[in-house]
Homo-oligomer: 453 residues x 2
């Protein structure tokens, strides 16, 4: 009996041990374990929810240190600097970071030491075929752009492609004089800065589109018009204004985070960037959809001579991120656009609430209750930026007014608009947004107090 009991006990434990071993064996990792362990070890470094440690961060006490959000300090970012200036300047799309933290397992990628060392990859022109395919699926799934009859060129953000396209379109005009490049105020400054700085014989900056609208017929044939829709900074939907000009349609913000998707856009030259789709500005990845083969070939040649394509590890990572988005598409809880719209909408409502407390400031007016084909319902505005205007006569330099109140935005002059306007970014981290609201509330209350005196 005792022997039988021993056998039973032995058998029982043996069974558990074997099962345990089988499970362990199944999940046993080899060469990738070290990197995985390192990444997880860095991810759990505690930064009080106000910062993040990264593998390639500055080393303090033998490990990567916390990189604190603006106005936070200390080893673990736990110290709030109350006199600190809130920063609403850059279009750093960190509002999407929590989304990727929630999708940690699906969005991580392991890059092997020997991954795609070659110049060439699966597709032509330094393009991974699978990534191109997923980008087309993404546009199709979201319904924001027609890709069927378009070529795709990858770039280091849309930044690189903006000027590649100016160059390609200008060359395609085959004119003896340089192409005239224009944009509508307020516009994203690099359109002008690039054309002026790179100073090619092919293209010249000619300023504001509206000044050429009434030009005599044919005189704008040699023009390249930037059309940004939704527009940066004000979020308005835009159309080309000039007849006969070539257009570069910058659709960086044409995603359900920021605007209703009323139709798939279908222009000859369209630009998108992962920065405002997934929030990975640091990856430097964007793409152009191009209809004309000649313009496509010229753009490809530009990319070849400029950088020989975009980083292959970035392409690998983008593929992984787009797979996550595609798997969750459809407006459900795990959908990045549900998350993005919800976040941006809440921020826009809050910003409007604060601004409406006084008459000192106003915000751009955006159409309400637009039908969105993606969400299959109407939706309200959720722009990436507040295009703030100082309404009081004495507040001539709105940027200076905000800075005096401890809030830094981007002056309207950067967008070739007047000094009464300032762009405040709503797409940064929650900490940044909270600080923006705090400082703006104080400025608004200041006015009310002043008004009462």
């Amino acid at each position: 009996m005792a022997g039988s009991q021993i056998h039973k006990v032995v058998f029982f434990f043996f069974f558990i041990l074997i099962s345990h071993t089988i499970v362990s064996a199944k999940i046993k990792l080899g060469w990738s374990r070290k990197a995985a362990t390192e990444a997880e070890g860095v991810a759990i470094i505690y930064c009080s929810g106000h910062g993040q440690a990264y593998i390639d961060g500055d080393i303090v006490d033998g490990k990567p240190s916390c990189e604190c959000n603006t106005c936070y300090a200390g080893d673990d970012c736990s110290i709030f600097l109350s006199n600190c200036t809130a920063n609403a300047e850059s279009g750093d799309p960190l509002f999407l970071k929590p989304y990727w933290e929630k999708h940690a397992a699906d969005s991580a990628v392991v890059v092997a030491g020997w991954h795609r060392m070659s110049y060439s990859t699966t597709g032509k022109n330094y393009i991974t075929t699978e990534l191109e395919r997923h980008i087309r699926m993404l546009h199709h799934g979201v319904g924001n752009a027609v890709t069927d009859d378009k070529f795709i060129v990858f770039g280091a953000g849309s930044t690189q492609l903006l000027y590649a396209l100016v160059h390609a379109l200008a060359a395609s005009l085959n004119s003896s004089s340089p192409a005239s490049v224009v944009a509508s105020v307020p516009y994203y400054a690099p359109y002008r800065q690039q054309t002026e700085f790179f100073d090619s014989k092919l293209a010249e900056w000619r300023g504001v589109t509206s000044e050429w609208v009434n030009a005599s017929k044919g005189s704008t044939n040699n023009f390249i018009e930037f059309v940004t829709s939704p527009n940066n900074p004000d979020g308005l939907l835009k159309k080309a204004l000039l007849n006969g000009s070539l257009t570069i349609n910058d659709h960086a913000y044409y995603w359900p985070h920021f605007t209703a998707i009323s139709e798939p856009v279908d222009e000859d030259v369209m630009l998108f960037t992962t920065s405002k789709l997934t929030g990975h500005a640091g990856s430097r990845f964007g793409w152009a959809l191009i209809k004309d083969e000649d313009v496509y070939n010229r753009t490809v040649r530009y990319m070849e001579l400029n950088t020989e394509g975009t980083s292959r590890e970035t392409q690998l990572r983008m593929l992984k991120l787009y797979k996550v988005i595609l798997a969750e598409l459809g407006g459900g809880k795990g959908d990045i656009f549900t998350f993005g719209y919800k976040t941006m909408r809440e921020r826009w409502i809050k910003l409007n609430q604060v601004v409406s407390l006084s008459k000192r400031f106003s915000l751009q007016k955006l159409p309400t209750s637009q039908y969105c084909n993606y969400f299959n319902t109407t939706r309200d505005p959720s722009p990436a930026y507040g295009w703030l205007k100082c309404e009081m006569e004495e507040d001539e330099d709105c940027d200076a007014v905000l800075r005096a109140g401890g809030l830094s935005g981007r002056s309207g002059t950067i967008y070739s608009e007047d000094k009464k306007h300032v762009r405040v970014s709503l797409i940064k981290s929650q900490d940044d947004f909270n600080q923006l609201i705090t400082k703006l509330t104080a400025l608004v209350n200041q006015t009310k107090t002043t008004a009462l005196n």
Copy 2:
């Protein structure tokens, strides 16, 4: 007694189970496991040693397919296509792939979904401080460049930096006329192609350096001279030829793989690229060392308007790779330069053996027994390319001769040299090199047979 035995048995198994659990727990991975499992699963896909499957490869039967080396085909790359043309064209540095396969655990990197989404990173101008620090350590450890008094700018390969520097140097000349850009024949074609294609008002291509050597004093003050050392294609060490010109010193090949390190180079503007250091051409990563702050600032501005820096996941990966190299530095068995020199040296010897079998072809002459400060001993040539010359009068177009023999190289004309020369790449995969040798041997034997008839 039986009860005591049961207790002992229970205790024994319990102890084993607990130990087992502790070990498992210690190595238990969370969110990174899925990506790690995927990467290892793809890495073991069998491609007969003549190809590789990658995570982002084309999908066949639900998994990434083998991407076969040139002249290999089939699902598992096991079919050798004997009538296939050997490809010795590109400078694809795949000779280093086996090195990274041997260092799989140390060179892998896990990129978390939320890794460095921001535009900004630890350093200024989109540069990760730790990576910059490791690059300086690498130059110091190898002894190939003085970095102490230099600024560093990162680029998408040296490709992007080549023209960024032309632009920055040209602007720094503050001249009313465009800068004249020149290089010594044979030269790397993009020097000319970029200057002509980007067509800036700041700089013009003025051809071959030697044509300006005897120009009157002061007339080359407005010149920018490309100096490539070791030179691509011929591997010779070069110095600037013009007095008073600005120089861009392209040291892409100044690593112990390819040449003796006789001294640390110390010019005002120097260029390096990971492509010819680690072999990661696809990563698009290079850097410039710049002495003058004004030139540095102009280069940084170029990078900002062109691409807003280089991919942050690429920077993360580069840091990991450079750490591996640094850890193994010193000429030992695990040293990448030991591996690189050994491989390149063997290939150079083999190529010379074949070429010396007839008088049909000749190769560039490189100095033997150079003292290398890095290896602390003399070493023999191990260039990246064979600069092949067709010696027979009737072989006017050497490239055509080779192609007729099933071997494609790059015609001398691409390097602004004559048709009698062809560059054959020695830095590709072992398969590529073997095919080059096979085809060249046949061409050499063909001559001998013809001579006998």
